[in-house]
Symmetry: C2
Amino acid sequence: MSTFSIRGGFQDIVASSRVRLARNLRGYRFGRQSAETLRELTDKVWDALQTAPSLAATFTRTEIVPNTAEAQRLVENHTISPALAQAGGWALVSADGGVSIMIGEEDHLRLQVMGAGLCPRECLAEAQRLSTLLESRLPFAFDERLGYLTACPTNLGTGLRVSVMLHLPMLTATHAMNHVVNWAGRQGCTLRGAFGEGTAAEGGFYQLSNQITLGMSEEMLCQRLTEMATQLLESEQKARQTMRERDENALSDRLYRAAGTLLTARLLSTDEAERALSDVLMGVQLSMLTGVTAPELYAVMRELRPASLVLAAGRDLSSRERDEARATLVRARLRGLWNGLNV
Amino acid sequence: MSTFSIRGGFQDIVASSRVRLARNLRGYRFGRQSAETLRELTDKVWDALQTAPSLAATFTRTEIVPNTAEAQRLVENHTISPALAQAGGWALVSADGGVSIMIGEEDHLRLQVMGAGLCPRECLAEAQRLSTLLESRLPFAFDERLGYLTACPTNLGTGLRVSVMLHLPMLTATHAMNHVVNWAGRQGCTLRGAFGEGTAAEGGFYQLSNQITLGMSEEMLCQRLTEMATQLLESEQKARQTMRERDENALSDRLYRAAGTLLTARLLSTDEAERALSDVLMGVQLSMLTGVTAPELYAVMRELRPASLVLAAGRDLSSRERDEARATLVRARLRGLWNGLNV
């Protein structure tokens, strides 16, 4: 995945922002469709895209075959949802991976726009442009009173899900997360592990997203999420500052050891690599480690995931082979960190 | 402590060899003496040493004051026994630390000679030269039938204790040590942690020593211990070779991670440092790690012990301050390893 064309602030602390619009077409029943209908829907969307030829030219049309490394890699990169990878369907994906149209999820269409850093509003604007473009050719199911109709009532109205991926390792370490999760809940938002519902927060990465889609404008939802993310980032910064003032040496110890592990290990599990990369990222954010940038670290985090490794190798890899390939990849990518360590 | 003047083979795998002769003087009761008598004995030994002026010139006379960092440092370097450091007394120590005469241990005199590598016989020859020199001036308690008389009957006869410090990390890792300890016992020898009775085998360092002092010549005792040490070293080599053939990558992972920890940590406990240095030492022995030599690693292992750190700092250090000083020392000493890692 190349870097997204949409970019916001805080790119070192906010991995990405994401906006997803749920849309359904009149004339088709709600919910899961047959393979034939999915292909038909995909053809229609693909045709509608062609009304903007310069945009359409950047898109690739990919059939999502369940349980394949390619489907898994798209999930690892957040290009498609785990549900689509499991059920199968189609994805139309822009060249930078930042825009994807999923066909085969619980709604007929899910338009997703991703950007680097804190940029929900920029993502929303892009998603709305895409929705408007498609709506000019496709009859979206819309109710004057309820708004966009969706398969699941939780998406009714704007059909909007906004989410921001935050790097909160120090709040995690200081056991403040329970408090923070409750705080988000009281404001109609959820905070959970980086890969969505039911996943652990590997390396202190959390996804903050809205729960409510009804009764608030899209812009207001984005605005609220941006404000909440900003507050969380400030808390995280404060926790880091406190830790640094109280015991800089213990903090250095943690960050440097993480760098040492990544630069010397010959076998690395995904979990260990993510935890160590999270610490190195914190070191870079605090200017305590140098020689590598936050975007470079985010790129390594994508590359080291199982399906990405398998696709890079061009063949199936055993768990042990992946651990070896991961360690080799990480050492190669972090050579600059090595030079910056200055033992 | 500087490097010993006596040197044998296997200097990379055998940290040191040591020979100790127990001697007592006629005219004094056996066992612990008053402070006054200890000083008197020390004067006599010191005077006797002067009959060989060039030898005497290399010796320093040190009062051992219990519970001081200096006494503890001498124990850490194996220059004096823990018992002498606890009871207090005197030590006459050669410039390289290789020869020490302890006054105040359970016998009136304990002559100790230490060398690098596998060299019990060379150490014995030096200890016997020293004993003969002292005996020309001091009336040693000797019985025609029993040999040298000692405070404890286990030392009766030759009064000889031979020990060899072996680095057996792979036998430790493969859980073969119980078997090996029993094997040594059946041959009248003991195998225990590096710092003698009651200490754990930190980083896979073991001390092999004879139990029997009676009914065998000094030369035969040394010969037997050397043979047993050689067998253990061969078993260790074989275990390493097996591990390397079976899973070289897992072995590399272990050795490189140890190097990474030592080169990046800002806080290091003695235990963690010893374990990691033991692995790095194994890496050097297997030519899998470069840029540092086994004798350099042995030197760091001595320097990083608590009392040595305190004396180097010139002031008392808290446990936390020692962990910081240890990490700083290790990074400074292992800079060559860093360059040799070649990430």
